[in-house]
Symmetry: C2
Subunit: 237 residues, 2 copies
DNA sequence: TTTATTCACAAACAGTGTTCGCGTCAAGTA
DNA sequence: TACTTGACGCGAACACTGTTTGTGAATAAA
């Protein structure tokens, strides 16, 4: 007995499990994983880290989860759970759609790095993702968009939404991201100063407003979504 | 001498390097890395794999490249090199812009997995990426879009472009991706059959056209881009 | 009480990125 | 031509990763 073995949990925690054996369950695993996700980001949600948090070994999780990918996907689904899908009102379907989409983006950004999961999974399969997709289609239908175009538009909207949410949450912690962004912009400035002044002139001009702009965040998402919706209207007319 | 040591390369290869010592250079590293990228995908471009391909050790690469991330970014830049930026013609700026963007997407999709690099880097800094960005801004300027909006629009367009290119190249090899997609769609069908028939009704309706649709690929990108450009026009009016 | 089965566990495997001394080799200097 | 010096390729090591598999114990059924 070289090291102090971890004490077993007292039998009265978690409601005196009917079977004293298994303290492992998908629900408990997701709780642990979500806790780690919120405090340390997606990259910290590894099989070993989750297992350690539950006082067990990594291999034990594979009885409840097929993959690390599946675990991450379940986390995404949990993150999407609080998003509310409105009852379609044909009079204000456009605002409802915008609200649904920005709400989804907010829910994703709230859990650091979870947008990457959405980006990595080809087409989402989990219940909440399907629920949101159905909500988007319902609102497009309420807006009188024919089903064929609605499907294509929903695809484009979902893609843009996911990409924007992902872009908002790069680099894990916000301060690291800010630092990285600072490094990048200064790199660009250096490179532009190195070049002859007539090259990349439009980028130079943009560089100036770039400093004063900032505050992209959720506004950048809104702009893209509104462009898409305006484009959809212009296109279906 | 437990194992046969690898033979040193004959001195006449690669033009009898002025310094017989260093067969390592950033250029040679990128050549090797690009070869591996094209034949085995981005995930195979690891420091060890590239080093092995050059007959050296992983640690040696760090004299020429700061990171694996930097190596990947340089590969992205190389992949973007052949994209041609047209001279802006105010009469057909919209078509030119569409061509530039789809061309960029094509260049990305051509190298398996390289779009992921573009997605992962917050804002690109490499020369070719800046060159393309400048080209987009130039075309928007030729179209009479005011600089402020042009910058925002270019951001949105680049985001959409990257996301679409990334979505086109998930799963590495195309057959694995197709298999995964098959698995996903059948999962959705199963889930829908399990639910009461009045739930997720719009998704059910879409499921039917989903089978007949397909052929998204580059058309899906065009649709999104055209929606965005139409939206831009509707918005600036 | 005995049997049977489930299932958590630990170890092992094959990888990963990155760091750091150690020598060796090439170039510059006297 | 001989010597010094500094660059830099090299290999080993560290701390991780996801996943598989044989083992053994604890529970539920008979």
């Amino acid at each position: 007995m070289p090291t102090a073995e971890p004490l077993p949990p007292p039998p009265w925690v978690r409601g005196a499990n009917k079977s004293g054996r298994r303290q492992l369950s998908l629900e408990a695993i997701l709780e642990s994983a979500m806790r780690i996700l919120e405090s340390e980001g997606l990259d910290a949600v590894t099989m070993r880290r989750v297992a350690q948090d539950m006082g067990t070994a990594a291999g034990s999780l594979y009885a409840h989860v097929r993959n690390k990918a599946e675990l991450h996907e379940l986390l995404l689904d949990a993150a999407l759970a609080p998003v509310h899908v409105p009852e379609p009102d044909p009079a204000r379907w456009r605002d409802q759609l915008l609200e649904l989409l920005t709400g989804t983006a907010r829910a994703m950004v709230a859990k650091p790095g979870i947008a990457r999961v959405s980006m990595e999974t080809a087409i989402p399969t989990t219940p909440n993702a399907l629920r949101l997709m159905d909500g988007v289609l319902a609102l497009l239908d309420a807006g009188g968009i024919p089903p064929r175009e609605a499907l294509a538009a929903a695809d484009v909207l979902a893609l843009h939404l996911t990409a924007a949410a992902y872009e908002m949450s790069v680099g894990g912690t916000p301060d690291a991201a800010a630092e990285e962004l600072q490094r990048r912009t200064s790199q660009i400035t250096q490179y532009l100063e190195l070049l002859p002044p007539d090259r990349l002139s439009h980028l130079r001009a943009a560089q100036n407003l770039f400093e004063t702009e900032e505050e992209a965040d959720v506004d950048g998402l809104r702009l893209g979504l509104e462009m898409l919706l305006d484009g959809l209207r212009a296109r279906s007319r």
